[in-house]
């Protein structure tokens, strides 16, 4: 299915979910004149309260049937880039084995105490990947049975992959 067809099916159900437009070249473009690039999938912006319902819809809807969650990750937009609003963006990349098409869903969350509902009941692979997002960014996932640190050790202070992370010297530093 083409991105437009997919978007029309989704728009029919959920009015609040918008498509993220292809990035435009910013007026302060760097020396390299390349045009911005993005993969030719459908990129959607979903509000955080709709996410669980939307996930179920994406998986169960006949023509979409996104049964494979390729990855879950997050980005931290924090005052580094003046164009981008300050937020933490959680990215879900989905794939459908049946129809062989992909979709990317992005959810914007505030940087202080971000909370998102977990989709572990929809795709079991989000178990560990959401734990990693929690570990690195501090996004709490509601409904996750074991939302704890996975790569860093228990009791590690701070959220490492945030842009404003400052390393607190611990017993491993000289």
């Amino acid at each position: 299915m083409t991105p437009q067809e997919m978007f029309s099916i989704i728009q029919a159900q959920y009015k609040n979910i918008t498509e993220i437009p292809y990035p435009q070249s910013p007026h302060a473009a760097p020396a390299h004149e390349g045009k911005p690039y993005r993969d030719p999938h459908l990129y959607l912006q979903c509000p955080s309260e709709l996410w669980l319902e939307f996930a179920n819809f994406l998986k169960n809807e006949e023509n979409l049937s996104f049964d494979y969650l390729t990855f879950v990750t997050a980005l931290d937009y924090a005052k580094v880039n003046p164009q981008e609003p300050i937020r933490i963006e959680v990215v879900y990349h989905l794939y459908s084995f049946k129809h062989r098409h992909s979709i990317v869903v992005k959810i914007s969350l505030q940087r202080e105490n971000p909370v998102l509902s977990s989709v572990i009941q929809v795709w079991k692979t989000s178990d560990w990947q959401e734990r990693e997002v929690y570990d690195m960014f501090g996004v709490k996932f509601e409904g996750h049975p074991n939302c704890s640190r996975i790569l860093m050790w228990e009791g590690f202070p701070g959220w490492p992959l945030r842009k404003d992370y400052v390393h607190i010297p611990d017993r491993y530093d000289d």
């Binding site: 990035p23 070249s25 910013p26 473009a29 760097p30 020396a31 390299h32 390349g34 045009k35 911005p36 690039y37 993005r38 993969d39 049964d67 494979y68 969650l69 390729t70 990855f71 990750t73 980005l75 931290d76 580094v80 880039n81 990215v91 990349h93 084995f97 062989r100 990317v104 795709w123 079991k124 692979t125 178990d127 560990w128 990947q129 990693e132 690195m136 640190r149 996975i150 790569l151 860093m152 050790w153 490492p160 992959l161 992370y165």
Partner: protein, 376 residues
């Protein structure tokens, strides 16, 4: 081996649940992985893998490294198949910058990645044999692997972290008569598979230890995001080389082995068959190798335009992907590695339940993880 027991009284005063720590120091060569098993006698009631012992923070490091510098770090994710890691990073950056690599470069990449697949699966074969108790196949596998590593050393100068596949092509063209040596290696490799079959694949004791053990049903595999030989072992035929070809894979003629039951033996068998298919691919690639330039023109300082890209390849362990977000500078804004071993390992929580303790090693070995990729 680290072992500790805690006695926990269950509801029923007769049963005691025992916690066993399959500690970070492992006799089986999988790396620093800790699995916390709760057992009721011989049967496992819960299994929690505990990872993060090898976490080096590559995603954070990437924010301070230029794109060519990240190639060196990418070697160290799945260190047994470093060529694949280099390839996926190069593909991601090339996609973002819309660089077209010439045919010779692409076919050289295919040859290296397939040779690396054979080397990686040989390590799996050898170490799986040791896990099951057969000590000899390990040495045969490493004898073959030495020949591959010799070939790689001639081409890139290193035996494990090659850094050979670069953005825009490869590091350098092939040395003199490398093709001849590669072909003689392939001729040497072909009868070895018969040896491996008699030694391990058709051994009744081995089959007894691996058949009908650790069955991974297909819907569970898809839900858990399994990819690679594990998914193919669960009889779902999906291979990125055929279904989303990259690097001119559409020109090669090879088949995708698929298992039937999803047990340990099927996953093992899929990898052995994949080695045979890789030999076929390399032969075709050597025949198809065109003359000409192997590198594309790439600017000295690589500054991709703004945007984001997700590039994925079929690494020996599964679907390895890079999600790259660029803000126009010479360092990436965000790099996320989609590690197949990390995602495959999560399924251990589910398929170990109900198994006996003696099968834990067999099942863990058949998933074939590399801790460098699990922890990044």
């Amino acid at each position: 081996m680290n072992t500790e027991i805690l006695r926990i009284q269950g509801q029923d005063s007769k049963t005691e649940e025992m916690i066993l720590n399959l500690g970070p120091q492992h006799p089986s060569t999988h790396g620093v992985l800790r699995v916390i098993l709760k057992m009721d006698g011989e049967v496992i009631t819960s299994a929690q893998p505990d990872v993060g012992y090898l976490h080096r923070g590559t995603e954070k490091l990437a924010e301070n490294r230029t794109y060519p510098q990240m190639l060196v770090i990418s070697d160290r994710w799945d260190y047994l198949a470093a060529m694949s890691n280099n390839l996926v990073w190069a593909l991601a950056v090339e996609k973002l910058m819309q660089i077209e690599v010439p045919a010779r470069g692409q076919i050289l990449r295919v040859i290296m990645v397939e040779l690396n697949r054979i080397a990686s699966h040989l390590v799996f074969f050898g170490t799986y044999g040791i896990d099951i108790g057969a000590y000899t196949p390990f040495l045969y596998a490493f004898r073959e692997r030495e020949k591959i590593l010799d070939l790689f050393e001639e081409v890139s100068g290193a035996r494990m972290t090659y850094n050979y596949i670069r953005i825009g092509g490869v590091m350098a063209d092939l040395p003199k008569d490398w093709i001849g040596r590669c072909r003689s290696f392939l001729e040497w490799m072909k009868p070895r598979f018969i040896e491996y079959d008699t030694l391990l694949t058709e051994n009744p004791i081995f089959q007894d230890r691996t058949k009908n053990i650790g069955i991974l049903p297909q819907p569970l595999a898809i839900s858990y995001g399994i990819s690679g030989p594990n998914l193919r072992g669960s009889s779902y035929r999906f291979d990125l080389r055929k279904d989303a070809p990259y690097c001119l894979y559409e020109k090669f003629n090879f088949s995708i082995p698929t298992g039937k039951n999803g047990d340990c033996w099927d996953r093992y068998w899929v990898r052995i068959e994949e080695m045979k298919e890789s030999v076929k691919i390399i032969e075709q690639a050597l025949d198809l190798l065109p003359e000409g330039e192997c590198n594309a023109k790439v600017p000295r300082i690589i500054r991709p335009p703004m945007g984001e890209v997700y590039a994925q390849i079929e690494a020996p362990r599964g679907m390895l992907g890079i999600y790259l977000v660029s803000d126009g500078g010479d360092k990436p804004y965000r790099v996320h590695v989609r590690p197949p071993s990390f995602i495959n390992l999560a399924v251990l929580q589910e398929i170990l339940v109900g198994m006996k303790v003696a099968d834990v090693i067999a099942i863990l070995g058949s998933i074939d993880i590399v801790l460098g990729e699990v922890d990044r």
